[in-house]
Symmetry: C2
Subunit: 441 residues, 2 copies
Amino acid sequence: MTEREASGSRAGGPVVRVGVLGCGNVGGELVELVDGDAEGIAARSGVRLQIVRVAVRNLAKPRSATLAPARLTHDAHAVATADDVDVVVELIGGIEPARTLIVDALKAGKPVVTANKELVANCGAELYAAAEAAGRELLFEAAVGGAIPLVRALRVSLAGERVRRVTGIVNGTTNYVLSRMSEERIDYGAALREAQSLGYAERDPTADVEGYDASAKAAILASIAFNADVVAGDVYREGIERIEVADIDVAHRLGYEVKLLAVAERAGDSGAVGVRVHPAMVPKGHPLAGVRGPFNAVFVEGDAIGELMLYGRGAGGKPTASAVLGDVLDAARSLASGAAVHFPAREHVEIRAIDELEAQYYLTIDVVDRPGVLAAVAAVFGEHGVSIRSMEQVDLGPEARLVLITHRAREADVQATLAGLRAVDAVERIGQLLRVVGPEA
Amino acid sequence: MTEREASGSRAGGPVVRVGVLGCGNVGGELVELVDGDAEGIAARSGVRLQIVRVAVRNLAKPRSATLAPARLTHDAHAVATADDVDVVVELIGGIEPARTLIVDALKAGKPVVTANKELVANCGAELYAAAEAAGRELLFEAAVGGAIPLVRALRVSLAGERVRRVTGIVNGTTNYVLSRMSEERIDYGAALREAQSLGYAERDPTADVEGYDASAKAAILASIAFNADVVAGDVYREGIERIEVADIDVAHRLGYEVKLLAVAERAGDSGAVGVRVHPAMVPKGHPLAGVRGPFNAVFVEGDAIGELMLYGRGAGGKPTASAVLGDVLDAARSLASGAAVHFPAREHVEIRAIDELEAQYYLTIDVVDRPGVLAAVAAVFGEHGVSIRSMEQVDLGPEARLVLITHRAREADVQATLAGLRAVDAVERIGQLLRVVGPEA
């Protein structure tokens, strides 16, 4: 208390005492940012921060010099509810114990900042309700898009906007892999190994390449863009494992890049929301097409704003810690104001089935190269009411690959077309199905 | 009061009564957004808005059907201080009477939202002080970059970040003109006339093409990025009138685009801040190089975040009204919390003179085409310690144009070199001087 007053008088503002749960990469960087620049942060923001307690799993692990053992503890719950902690930062990740720690911290009257995408994506409504009941902030800028200030943009800046669609490149690993495939024409396996050697991909890359990470982020984007109760399980999901350099070559020839997208959109006027993660063909003139390597970007379309894109580093200890720090300062100011924080209740929305999606489709179909095959294939499209916009044939020796782009069609009709094609004798294999971004040219 | 309570009970939140000063393009769109979607806005934000009074210059002017005469008045000051107005929106523009109206509204305890870049750029410190004294919000997201949520990003999300540099394309008119010159190889005059015919440029385009509009925005960006007292007059300024298609051709050949940039940066460790607006060579791989047409974008570099870009529509009634609406909702929530708002005092900073800038430079020099000229030109660069990185000669008949890019050099030395070159007999004309963005390759 004496120190608080003393520090307060030095900085011209109160000291806000921060408790940090989890001290991995992001936590370590956060401690370094705050310890290393407390004066600068106070000058810029008017808030003097002090990290008073840090809960870690392994007390024996060597830490940076500034992280004196006196601040470290095993007992995360004690930090989350401590009397001498004003703001709690949760950086443990996963569902439990993070969920219980956050709820108990809110109950103890502490604003909470978290970077935990899994938790926010799966238990967001519960956390919101706990924050509303406590009248305290719950901020999670770092849970999607690292340092990109998109959560605050959607929650605050665009609070009055009728958002139509949010389209994001929200997974740096897959964007790095696809960028390398596109730029160097190396195959998926080689690009993935390169990403692993650079630390952009985990040894087990499943969560990234199969789209699970992006799905959690898509759920969060949908829930904040539409103030809706959308969870990770609501998200239609495909990964990038089946993308071949041959697909990217065709994409380039037709004026597209292939990107793994997270899309959250209003489905017409029904009030339903569509949320999906899959690789897609993005026109080269689209701002998302130029997002390369490990960068992330989120493209927002709204009735009044038109088009908006936020771009930056989606991962990494320092950028993520910077986003957490921004939230901590926001929470600190909110706490200092003494006012209760309100969260509008999330609406229950219907989730549009992927079958109801309308888009253009890029398809590759390997067929036996003999007369009459094209007519048989075209007939199947016709039966299901799917209209072909362009088709070209690539010679593969005894076989041929048909590369098609459809006019705008319903996903269910396209899937029925594929089922019909599999029954055609001359069709050897359905290669690829990619949705095409943007209005039909 | 009865209506307030009644409305409040319908929406689940209090009615916030908004007074609007000025009802041009942006004001009209704001009224339409709020009148047309009050229920939707309330559902998304938890705040029910009602525009109760609108001050206009011309009461006789035809307005949209929703803008009933009962809400209209001549008396802006009465609206700014009315008992039945909770939040004041200033959309008159210019210094007076906007300044007095805003200060008086704050004194009357009302949060203020403004889109007035001229006022914020010239009297920002005074407005901040008035807001701090009143403990009320002063928000101006729409003053820079239209619907792009960059003011909030810099003030809130990046509050803890040590920002190094902010580089923006913040004027849609000049970006449209330069984009057309780049894409269509039409000259400056033709591109400007096209911009005028499309409504992207005013009949008198001075404020845009000479960089005055961008300078005001650069001052605002500098003041919020560095919490510094920077005004429009502190900004070094050049416009785009002297850019030729020939320059853009060379830029393309060397891998650059020409863009009018607003740059605000920390000048080394001195604490000084450099703020400048001028056309520049932007490497094609840089995210700003791809910002085309009337779009705006702001690229932020910071110690922890790395690189961040925000992109969107920088002007237009609807996008700007959307940004104003986001601010109104933020101000309304802040007001409802009942807490005083604090603004950290802006620091006085030293403004770095343009002479102290260090950059690479692109130069064109028209010379008489005869032996020994190159040696004479090179000698002048050598005398002033400016090292040439690349030089090529373009044949123009009896004359030749030398196109040079320097290594990193001090602006003062480059200017001294140009003065020296003018004294060389064989030098006919110094054509162009453009600063090159980015670290030296």
